[in-house]
Every structure is written in C-alpha cells, then in structure tokens.
C-alpha cells in the first residue's frame, strides 16, 4: 500500500524536507508568530516570577480545592505528549507504515509538551526550592522520600519519560541532521548540524547499529506510553476523593492521553502540511488513519465516563452518587457539557469517511477534542475536590489571572519551541520517509 504520494526518491524527499529549513517559506509569518510566542514566554516568566515571589495564594486554590489549573494543565500537557511516543514506539513495533510521516513532528511535540508539563509540578509546590527532596539522594537527615506516595512515582515516571523521549527523538534525528549537514549552505549551519550529527556517515555499519538502538528504545518507550499516564492517573486514583477513587482511571487516562495527543497532532499537522507543502508526505490517508485513532480513543474515553457513572450508582454510596450528580447539576455543569460535546459527541462524526478526510472538519473536531480534554481534567481535578465527603467543606474554585497566565504562558512556550523546531530541524523523518519511498517504488 502506497502511503507517499507523488513519485519520490530519497533525493527528492531530502530536498523537499531540507528545503523547508534551507529555503524557508513564509518567513514573515514565522517571525510574527515567533514574536507573539516570545511575548507569551515573557508573560510566562512574569507569571512564574509573581508566583515564586508572592506564593501559591496568587492562584485560586483554597481549602478544599488544593489543586487547580496547575495540575489540570500538568495532566493535559503530559497527555498530549503521549501521542508522540505511541506513534514513535508502538506504531513502529506494530509496523504501521503511516507513522513515518508524522513521527518526528509528534516526538518533538511530545518533548515540548513534557517540558511544559514539567513546569507545573515544580511550580505548584508551596516551597519549590526544596523540590529536590522528592529525589532519593543520600542526605544527612537519614530521610528518603515516601515511596507510597503517587507523587514520587510521578517524579520517576515523568523524568523517565522525558529522558527516553529525548533520547529516542535525538537518535532518530541523527541521520537527518547528517542530511542537513551535507546540504547546508553556510559554514555555521554545516558546523552546528555536523556537531549534532555526531559524525554520521550513513555506512551500513552505522545503519545497523542505529536500527538496533532505535528498536531498543522503541521497546523501552512502549511501556512508557501505558505506564506514565497510568502513574499520573494514580495521583487521583490512589486518593479517596469521590470522583477520583476509581479503578478505571489508569486505562481511562491512557486512552484519554492518546486521544488528546492525536488531536493535538492533527491540529498542528494540518497547517504544517499546508504551509510547507508537505501534502505528498502527509496525505489524506494519513489524516484518515489519525481520525480513526481519534474515533477509537473517543469511544474508549466515553466508555470511561459511563463506567464512572455506573460505578458511582452501583456503589450505593451517597458521596459517590452526589459527586457524580453534581457534575450535571452543580456550578461546573456547563463545563461538563463542553466536555461531553468535545470528547464524546464531536468525534462520532469520524464514523463517516468523508468527515475523516475533510480538512476543516478535522481541524474543528481536533480543537474541540483538545478543549474537551482540558475540561475533562478540570472536572476531574476541581469538581471532585469541590464536592467531597463533608458538605460543610464544599467550596468552589475560581482560577485567577495568574492561573490563566501560567497556562497561556505554557501554550506560548510550546508554540515558541515548535516554531523553532520547524525552522531549524527537519519536521519529518527524512531517513524513514526515504526508506519508505524506495520500498513503495518497488511495489
């Protein structure tokens, strides 16, 4: 089955993808967007500064809602990152050839998403300068972290995820950086690309080692797709809060992560392929495949919602039932409706092939999904905490400008990093697409 359109050879593949960097189109647009996101990053720095200087009180968190937008955003960003790893690792092992058109881009997205996510656990600490106490280092207090706490598992999970994703991404980039080095037009370009290309010659020995390492990392990364977000979900499932304490959470969260991750990939890849004329590589069939993933994970997530509701009812416990009903009847009910619309309702259109290949529909639905998944994290974190066991302790959470500011700042940081990525690094995997082009031309 041919995934790449047009008659491509490794030469044309390299030329096209390298051309995005060497003869960049839409330069002014790029600068404008970079400027905007740079402003956003500045705003991020200001938000962080205000937070560190004055304290957690600048956010809207209170008693009982001790976790607010910071944790919502943390989970949202980590979830988004999962698509990259799934595409890179699991689809590789499952020999899904359509992954080659998006894997580099998705891996970069993962990395940047995890960077954004990693800010939040640090910043939401009351005393962030002691963050290192979560690490097991030998100290003069004879103290170790509390291994029973899901936050410690988080610490290891996210740091492992970051490390493995970075390695995997870099390893895949090495041959492409060599291509860039060889095609570089200026001395400094050649030197920098050359440095990071680690002396890649493209010999068969290099390729043999590379492929084995790549496969090894894919095997390492595969369990991470499931484990990282399962561990993040255990932050909630291990607690006894009604609305959190549910065994469906690990698979539910993983499905949700893949869901939101793919949605983000679709949202970003559609303008990308348009602006950089990469339609040959990211074809309608690729979009179709991604839409099918979205549909599948949407159904899984909807199953998760049903499960939560059923378990609450089946338990017969007043606190569980009350919290579940409060989602529909409480102050946060409109947010819950947005959630259902974005996550359960909108993706159903992908049952129709026409919808799956329609760029506009894809764009709109993927944005709705991202919003829906954000509201899902909001409902899980905030609504459950606001409506717990003792009615005397029920209270609402209202995000403040610094809550939103930090979130907007991370969106800007993400954009900033993505913009730098598309400008300076090959957005698609030159080596893998070249290989695929050769294989398909033989069919």
């Amino acid at each position: 089955m041919k995934w790449i359109e047009g008659r491509h050879t490794p030469e044309t593949v390299s030329a096209r993808i390298a051309g995005v960097i060497l003869q960049p189109p839409h330069q002014r647009l790029w600068w404008q967007l970079l400027g905007l996101s740079a402003l956003g990053v500045l705003w991020l720095v200001v938000s962080i500064g205000v937070l560190l200087y004055r304290g957690i009180g600048v956010w809207g968190v209170n008693r009982p809602v001790g976790w607010g937008l910071a944790i919502v955003n943390f989970v949202w960003w980590i979830g988004i990152g999962h698509a990259g790893t799934l595409i890179s690792a699991i689809l590789l092992l499952a020999r899904q050839e359509w992954r080659t058109s998006i894997n580099r881009f998705a891996e970069a997205m993962t990395l940047f998403a995890v960077c954004c996510a990693g800010l939040f656990p640090l910043l939401h600490l009351g005393r962030p300068w002691y963050f290192y106490w979560l690490a097991p280092y030998p100290n003069r207090m004879l103290l170790w972290p509390n291994w029973r706490s899901p936050l410690i598992w988080d610490f290891f999970a996210v740091s492992t995820y970051l490390t493995v994703s970075l390695l995997f991404w870099y390893l895949g980039l090495v041959p492409d950086l060599a291509v860039m080095r060889d095609r570089a037009t200026s001395l400094w370009q050649r030197r920098i690309y050359g440095f990071f290309a680690l002396g890649w010659r493209g010999s068969s020995r290099h390729w043999s080692v590379h492929q084995r390492a790549y496969l090894l990392l894919a095997c390492l990364a595969t369990p991470l797709v499931v484990s990282v977000h399962s561990i993040v979900s255990l932050d909630f499932a291990a607690a006894l809060v009604p609305g959190w304490h549910s065994t469906i959470f690990p698979p539910f969260f993983v499905a949700g992560a893949i869901f939101s991750g793919f949605a983000m990939v679709v949202t970003l890849v559609i303008p990308l392929r348009y602006l950089f004329s990469l339609q040959d590589f990211i074809t309608e069939r690729h979009l179709d495949a991604m839409a099918k993933m979205l549909l599948l994970t949407s159904i899984l997530v909807s199953y998760g919602y049903l499960c939560e509701g059923f378990c609450a009812w089946y338990s017969g416990l007043r606190p569980e039932i009350s919290t579940a009903l409060d989602r529909f009847q409480g102050v946060y009910a409109p947010i819950y409706w947005v959630l259902l619309l974005g996550n359960s309702l909108a993706p159903l259109c992908f049952f129709w092939p026409a919808a799956r290949r329609n760029i506009r529909v894809l764009l709109v639905v993927s944005v709705l999904i991202n919003i829906g998944m954000w509201t899902e994290r909001f409902i899980i974190v905030v609504q459950s905490l606001s409506h717990e066991f003792l009615p005397a302790a029920w209270r609402l959470y209202t995000p403040t400008i610094w809550d939103w500011g930090l979130y907007a700042g991370t969106l800007a940081l993400f954009s900033f990093l993505m913009l730098l990525f598309v400008r300076f690094l090959p957005v698609l995997s030159i080596s893998e697409l070249s290989k695929q082009a050769v294989e398909e031309s033989h069919e």
Binding site: M141, L143, L198, R201
Partner: protein
C-alpha cells in the same frame, strides 16, 4: 561516532567516580561543618581555666540545664559575683563592667546552635544519663569554645536510635573527664523509652 561515544562515556565515568566521593567528602568536611572553629568572643572566656583549673561546676553558670529546655547563659551579675573582686581592674573585663553599668547584655557568639525548627530540651537529656561532654565535647579543655559535632539530624538520630552506648552513670553526668565505658544496664536504670524516640514530633513541632 566511535570517538564521540568514547569521549562521552569516559567523561561520564570520571564524573561519577571522582565527583561523587568528592561531594561526599566535601559535605562531611570540617569546613562545611565548621568544626574546631572557635569564634571570636567579646570576652575571651576560657572554660579550661574556669572548669579544669578553678573547678566550677557546669551548673554554676548554666543553671537551668536540669530544669529547662535551654541550659542558660550566665548573666553579667553572675560573672560579677567573682569578678567584682577578682581582676576588678583588668582591661579584659571592661566589657563585663560596661555591660553591668549600662544595662546592656554581653553579646556572646553562639557556637552550639540548632535550627529554629528543632526543639531541644536539655533537662530530659541530663536526666536520662547524657553527660554534657557527650554533645559539647571536652569543654573543660577548650580555651575558647569550639564546635566539634556536626549537629546534623543524622548525628542526633544516631543516638536516638540507640542511646545505650552514650549513657553514663548518674554521678558522672557533669564529670568531663570520665572515661567512656560501655554500661548496657543503664538503659534499664534510666528507664529510657523503647518506643517513640525517633518520632518526628519529639524534635520537630
């Protein structure tokens, strides 16, 4: 590629094999622990002279050690019980005389200091068989008081986990020169608690 790999691996190994022990040694160094550092005091008070030579009991000046959390520092008037007569005109004692005349305390530089979040009680330690020199060292041999113990949590826990080796007979608590001999039966004698000495709230509340 091979070169790079080789270089990177060697560097990493070097960092780990040399760096980590270096870090450990530094953390336990005298510099960081400020051991044997005798800070300058407003009056060069010599414990060696007053305890070993004159023969003063610790409690003469540090009178609250058996009853209170803090052992107490002698007031200017206490010093003057002797030094209004002895060395009454000596220049070294000018700060003491001025303190009394002006009603301003002498500003001693603290040597044994625990952080504010540690609630240490002297009286229970003294009551349960810990000599002064156990923690403060051979003060009777110090010309100027210096810090000899790390005073880290690790060091405190060392004893709280197993007080036995650090106990001494009741009449030797204030005896700085007592030779350290193991007395395993003292744990029973002092009725040292078996449970709870390593609870956080014993020190941190």
């Amino acid at each position: 590629m091979d070169q790079w790999l080789g270089v990177m691996v060697m560097t990493a190994l070097l960092l780990l094999l040399v760096g980590l022990p270096a870090l450990w040694i530094y953390a336990h160094s005298d510099y960081v622990q400020r051991s044997r550092l005798a800070p300058e005091q407003p009056i060069q008070f010599s414990h060696r002279h007053h305890v070993a030579e004159v023969g003063l009991d610790c409690r003469y000046c540090h009178s609250a050690v058996e009853t209170g959390a803090s052992a107490g520092m002698p007031s200017s008037s206490l010093c003057l019980t002797c030094h209004s007569q002895l060395y009454a005109d000596n220049d070294l004692f000018e700060p003491l005389r001025r303190s009394y005349a002006e009603g301003q305390p002498i500003r001693w530089q603290r040597v044994y200091r625990l952080p504010d979040y540690v609630y240490f009680n002297h009286s229970i330690h003294v009551a349960k068989g810990f000599g002064c020199v156990e923690c403060h060292g051979r003060v009777d041999q110090m010309a100027l008081v210096q810090l000899n113990q790390p005073l880290t949590m690790e060091w405190c826990l060392d004893c709280h986990n197993d007080p036995g080796p650090h106990l001494r007979p009741q009449d030797k608590i204030l005896d700085p020169g007592w030779e350290k001999v193991a007395h395993p039966e003292l744990k029973e004698y002092y009725q040292i608690r078996k449970q709870g000495l390593t609870d956080c709230s014993v020190c941190h509340r």
